[in-house]
């Protein structure tokens, strides 16, 4: 065989014209337009386009975060109906009073009817000092927010804000308020912006997600195992597979209507706890945490099935063969090899499902989430509200300060979402490491 002479051609030159030094080869090489430079240039243009789309995504995300943070902090003008200084007892200012003194203040300033109602809601003996203090602020001092500014204005225009404050609100005080605080997370809901918190909504969301996962995870993974490992490839099964994909695209409000019809109405004895004799006195019917969790469970079921199917399909066939070759049964193969290897992918799908479910508002509105409850859900049969419902409700209020509350609640929602996902990711990594 003759030696190939192409190596004499300088690298980097495109061969478009016959090269006389290549003699006989020139003719055939003329048909090639190697043009490596041009090919690289085209590649780098695509690279820039992809980089740009990533950047746009990141910018949009940053804008979202900044917007939320902007709303969650800032100056506010507070005007007290009753000056806290006048509520001092024997010269002890309100902030330093003991629980007993605070109760005394309440008793002396409130009408006896109002005081007794508070006692009936929860006896004062059982209330904490912080709770009583909050009652004093809510019922007696009654701060009214006259104006509020977002973080950006508060930082850049603080001079103007202070001037406006001095001119327009002589009897009020200007405070820099962080709406997103530990208190905000631990306080129950309230109609007063300053004392409102999201504990009720957080607990509602967590309870709901718990039942969502309890329904959707085993059912979804089970269905995926059946469809991938057991179901034969007939017309019915193909139809089912296609329609699971369609179900994942059904608008969530439709699931809400379904949930209302099935879980709230038809299965009311179950979802209200009547069946177990555990009816929560506060719930009139099936509009409970359980009904909401099951509805969201139906909603995320297709997501979990699809992702679990993908994960199971991605388990190499050679592993199954190795297992069968040892005389393992189908179930032994699935349990010992398919599932452990598919688990990281299944958990990724579960993360997606949690993210979807925790942010859902529409179906819960239909299923009957309460908008204003101030007691925590205590059982599957409690009335509930969730963070997105709370956020939605606050953003629709006319007052500016409720939008700040909504921004703070969004931050809480993001933190919860991230921590739930982080735990799923940790779990996934543990499975991946074992392999």
């Amino acid at each position: 065989m003759k030696a190939i002479t192409t190596s004499t051609r300088p690298i980097g030159q495109s061969v478009q014209r016959p090269n006389p030094s290549l003699k006989g080869r020139g003719e055939s090489l003329a048909n090639y337009n190697v043009n490596t430079k041009g090919r690289r240039r085209k590649g780098s243009i695509w690279r820039w386009i992809f980089q740009l789309s990533t950047m746009i995504g990141i910018i949009a995300l940053l804008a979202l975060l900044l917007n939320i943070i902007n709303g969650a902090f800032g100056y506010a003008v507070l005007e007290a109906k009753v000056d806290p200084a006048t509520l001092a007892v024997n010269g002890v200012p309100l902030e330093e009073q003991s629980k007993g003194q605070l109760i005394g203040v309440l008793q002396s300033k409130l009408s006896s009817g109002a005081f007794n109602k508070l006692e009936r809601d929860q006896p004062f003996a059982e209330r904490s000092r912080a709770n009583v203090y909050q009652l004093v602020i809510e019922r007696l001092v009654k701060y009214d927010i006259k104006a509020s500014w977002p973080l950006w204005d508060s930082l850049t225009h603080s001079g103007e804000i202070k001037a406006t404050f001095a001119r327009d609100y002589p009897n009020a005080q200007l405070r820099f308020i962080s709406w997103f605080t530990a208190d905000f997370v631990s306080r129950p809901q309230s109609s007063e912006a300053l004392t409102a918190g999201v504990r009720t909504a957080i607990l509602g969301s967590l309870w709901t997600i718990l039942f969502t996962l309890l329904l959707a995870f085993p059912l979804g993974v089970g269905a995926a195992i059946y469809l991938e490992e057991y179901a034969t490839d007939n017309r019915l099964n193909r139809l089912i597979r296609t329609n699971i994909n369609n179900l994942a695209g059904v608008p969530s409000i439709v699931y809400g209507i379904l949930g209302l019809a099935i879980f709230v109405r038809t299965l009311e004895p179950l979802t209200s706890g009547e069946l177990f004799g555990l009816v929560d006195p506060t719930t009139a019917n099936g509009r409970t945490v359980l009904a909401a969790g099951l509805t969201l469970g139906l909603l995320v079921l297709p997501i979990i099935i699809i992702n679990a199917q993908e994960a199971i399909r991605a388990v190499p066939q050679s592993l199954r063969k190795a297992s069968y070759g040892l005389g393992a049964t189908k179930w032994q193969t699935i349990w010992s090899h398919v599932l452990p290897n598919a688990m990281p992918g299944i958990l990724t799908g579960t993360i997606l499902a949690i993210s979807r479910a925790i942010g859902e508002t529409a179906p819960l509105v239909v299923v009957g989430a309460s908008t204003a409850i101030s007691f925590d859900p205590a059982s599957p049969f409690s009335k509930f509200t969730t963070l997105p419902i709370q956020i939605y409700q606050w953003t629709s209020r006319p007052q500016d300060e409720f939008r700040s509350l909504a921004a703070a609640a969004i931050l809480v929602l993001l933190v919860i979402l991230l921590s739930l996902n982080a735990s799923a990711i940790l779990l996934r990594n543990r499975f991946s490491r074992r392999l």
Binding site: T232, L319, A322, L326, S336, N341, L435
Partner: protein, 266 residues
């Protein structure tokens, strides 16, 4: 499956293929094969690509059934009993007739677990450490991995992985070991080790091996089945000659076999 009667002398053949045809859907991949497998011998199946060697091998432990749409005609007798009898459980067939695959495919578990798992699913109650050691010793792998038993089976070299797969197959005490081109993904040194190992193993087991490598068949096997696509344009494989290996390679009866083993084919 009934055990062979103890007082009856064991037949010469462990497996006997009788007029076997294998179908993928309507496509007849293998036609009318008649081949015996001698006890404690190595039987090689050779032939060009796509002539149905692996399909025939998989018919010996019913692995073909894992592919949807396969069916067979004819019989495969194992210790005199038809493997395809409706009363026979394929799981038990695969338990008694083990398999080693073309590409090393250890489980993504520790080396120890790779071997222990098979024994455990079949209810092994003895000392697992001893079993693991004896299987690894039989597979000539013990000295190389005895200190890293807890490491992943995927962390060792390809040749070691393949021997691990052989050790894994041994752990369920099969009677026959089927090997589907076990050395095709390995370098010559690792290949040689596998071949030496086969010579050791045939003292206790019966081995059937599919190979592309004719030198390997000539070196390692006792009997050889030569497969070829049928000449009638149906593109269906069949065994055209079966004999002792040295006869196949020195004095074949079929002209096509001679052309193939001397490298004059095609």
């Amino acid at each position: 499956m009934a055990q062979p009667l103890p007082n009856q002398e064991k037949a010469r053949y462990v497996l006997e293929v009788k007029d076997l045809s294998i179908f993928y859907g309507d496509f007849r991949a293998v036609t009318s094969v008649n081949v015996p497998v001698h006890r404690h011998m190595i039987t090689a199946i050779i032939g060009p690509s796509g002539c149905g060697k692996s399909t025939l091998l998989r018919a010996f432990n019913r692995m073909n059934e894992l592919v949807i749409g396969t069916s067979i005609e004819g019989e495969v007798l194992f210790e005199g009993e038809n493997l395809y009898d409706p009363a026979v459980d394929p799981v038990e067939v695969r338990y008694r007739i083990g398999m080693v695959f073309q590409k090393p495919n250890p489980f993504p578990k520790s080396i120890y677990e790779n071997i222990a798992w098979g024994a455990r699913i079949h209810g092994y109650k003895g000392n697992m450490d001893e079993l693991v050691e004896s299987c690894l010793r039989q597979a000539a792998l013990w000295d190389e991995v005895k200190d890293i038993l807890k490491q992943s089976g995927l962390a060792i070299s390809g040749g070691q992985q393949q021997r691990l797969c052989i050790a894994r197959a041994l752990a369920v005490q099969p009677e026959v070991i089927l090997m589907d081109e076990p050395a095709s993904a390995l370098d010559p040194i690792a290949t040689l080790k596998i071949e030496e190992l086969m010579q050791e193993l045939k003292k206790n087991y019966t081995i059937v091996i599919v190979t592309h490598n004719m030198q390997q068949a000539a070196r390692a096997s006792d009997y050889t089945a030569m497969m070829m696509l049928s000449a009638n344009g149906e593109r269906s494989g069949t065994v055209i000659e079966f004999d002792q290996t040295n006869r196949i390679f020195t004095n074949p009866r079929d002209k096509r076999t001679e052309d193939y083993v001397t490298g004059r084919f095609g």
